[in-house]
């Protein structure tokens, strides 16, 4: 698997003129990498993800997945978003195996044996995520963390070449978030899935990634490409290691520098107090 982003540009055309969201952006991601995209709000990191997913069209440049140009959305690029987007009329199990009944996916599991292995995989995924007692539950009966687990299981069940995650844990409470991070680490290692991960949370990015791409503020361009030296086996302990703190510090500095500072702020604050 090789994902290549070449000179990617995105301009939103508005009535008041064009708003560039991405400067020419180039990077590539290899098999099994866990790459986080971080940057200030509105820097185009989510846009990049949607462009790779094929849900939006680039204004210029191209995206290559295994040397084939990405033209539209497809089953080889799974997506998990902050809002879980489960199909509310399907049970947990039916949600997780939604992709199996689609024509595009029937091609590569023709024989009954192949189908059985895939279905078996869905059960293992759900069990691994602690959902074994909720196969027949409907999304509205689940907590936020559980919904997001189903969404991840649904995307992984389809065995995408690359999994795109847009702030997947943004809506979860701190404790569930940590649980989900460890679960995702476990899964990405086990499934050897390549993951592109958009987040606001610098600590989350350092903890999960093998590489971090730092974006500038809008229009987004690549500021830095930081490799994360921790190995595959990560535990909460590394969050306290000096190396971890050093990386976190460096990222925070980069982001603070990018955040547009309001020079007028002090004057405004004084006005507010009066």
């Amino acid at each position: 698997m090789k994902l290549e982003v070449r000179q990617l540009e995105k301009v939103y055309r508005g009535r008041k003129g064009d708003v560039p969201a991405l400067c020419p952006l180039s990077f590539s991601v290899g098999s099994g990498e866990f790459v986080s995209l971080v940057g200030p709000s509105g820097c185009g990191k989510s846009t990049t993800l949607y462009l790779i997913a094929g849900l939006e069209q680039p204004s210029a440049g191209e995206i290559l997945l295994d040397d084939e140009t990405v033209g539209g959305p497809g089953h080889d690029r799974g997506m998990v978003c902050q809002s879980y987007n489960l199909f509310p009329w399907l049970t947990v199990l039916e949600n997780a195996r939604f992709s199996f009944d689609l024509e595009d996916n029937r091609d590569y599991s023709r024989t009954e044996g192949e189908v059985m292995t895939r279905v078996g995989r869905v059960y293992s995924l759900l069990d691994l995520m602690g959902l074994q007692n909720f196969y027949q539950a409907y999304p509205r009966e689940l907590s936020g963390g559980m919904k997001q687990r189903v969404a991840i299981a649904r995307a992984l069940a389809n065995q995408p070449k690359v999994l795109l995650m847009d702030e997947p844990f943004g809506a979860l409470d701190a404790q569930t978030r940590e649980e989900m991070q460890d679960l995702l680490l476990l899964l990405s290692r086990h499934e050897k899935t390549t993951i592109l991960f958009v987040t606001h949370d610098v600590e989350e990015a350092v903890y999960l990634s093998t590489r971090i791409l730092v974006f500038s503020s809008r229009p987004g361009r690549l500021l830095e490409d930081i490799p994360i030296p921790f190995g595959a086996d990560r535990s909460l302990e590394i969050k306290l290691s000096p190396e971890f703190l050093r990386l976190k510090r460096r990222l925070l500095d980069l982001l603070h520098h990018e955040q547009a500072t309001n020079s007028n702020r002090d004057a405004l604050l004084r006005k507010l107090v009066q």
């Binding site: 094929g54 849900l55 539209g72 959305p73 987007n85 009329w89 024509e103 595009d104 996916n105 389809n158």
Partner: protein, 279 residues
């Protein structure tokens, strides 16, 4: 703080009564009691009015008189004939419009091309009052069953098709996107996501439009018919038989309410997965 202000503050902080809470909930007994109260006051209002000396009993018959008339009706085969033919007309007109509106509405909601082609056109036709079309419908379809069914069809279809298209458009776009990243093709997105997600709303639209079907049924039967509830009411009116009119009006209301109830029950059973507000 002035006394009035502190008083107000205290009132604001005290435990509030659930009765007038904005979007508050009531216990089921209270809700059912209110329903009964509403119907009871209508009944007693009627009862009181019919007993007044300045009211002509020919125009407002007493409840007792209407009750006796209703009992006589039990042995009147015309009543059953009327109900049967009216229900048959409504069902035919309603099913016909649903069968056409469903695919057309789905396409209008799913594809901008169909929307551009059909939506403004539908809006335009919708504003032509249906009774204004009666003379034309009579020219086209005569005065038989076909004309009545077509009137119901025209009355219901143009409302229904817009409501269905709206329901399809209301499906969150994220659901469409997520299905596409799982490999869903165009037809599958429409069939497996848009249609399924909009189904509770579509059934609610059908429930509302069933009411329209009954309205246009009576309009159709007032024009030309040999039997049917609307036709019979007109005939009773010619002979000043107000108690009979009352019986038929009550029956029309009961049939409508029963159908509505059946639709709601069905929705709640089949679409238990949906939010309570959408069922």
């Amino acid at each position: 703080m002035s006394r009035a202000a502190s008083c107000r503050a205290r009132r604001r902080n005290s435990v509030r009564s659930p009765w007038l809470e904005v979007r508050g909930e009531l216990p089921p007994w209270a809700y059912k009691g209110l329903v009964a109260l509403g119907f009871a006051s209508l009944f007693f209002g009627w009862w009181w009015l019919s007993g007044q000396s300045w009211i002509n009993p020919v125009f407002v018959p007493t409840p007792a008189k209407v009750w006796h008339t209703a009992q006589e009706f039990l042995h009147d085969e015309n009543l059953w004939l009327d109900i049967k033919s009216s229900v048959a007309r409504v069902t035919a007109g309603f099913l016909l419009s649903a069968a056409v509106a469903l695919p057309v509405g789905i396409f209008m909601g799913a594809f901008k091309v169909c929307e551009g082609l059909l939506q403004p056109l539908t809006e335009y036709v919708r504003y032509i009052p249906v009774p204004a079309l009666i003379p034309l419908l009579m020219l086209f379809f005569g005065i038989g069953e076909a004309a009545k069914i077509m009137l119901i069809f025209v009355g219901v279809f143009f409302q229904l098709v817009l409501m269905i298209a709206d329901e399809i458009r209301r499906v969150p776009h994220e659901l469409v996107q997520v299905s596409q990243t799982l490999g869903a093709r165009r037809g599958e997105v429409v069939r497996l996501v848009l249609f399924r997600a909009a189904l509770p709303g579509i059934f609610d639209a059908l429930r509302l439009c069933n009411g329209w079907a009954w309205t246009y049924l009576v309009v159709a039967e007032l024009i030309a018919a040999n039997e049917g509830m609307g036709y019979r009411i007109l005939k009773f009116s010619r002979f000043l038989q107000t108690p009979k009119i009352f019986v038929y009006l009550i029956l029309l209301g009961v049939i409508g309410l029963a159908l509505d109830f059946a639709f709601r029950k069905f929705n709640r059973r089949v679409f238990h997965w949906a939010d309570a507000t959408k069922r």
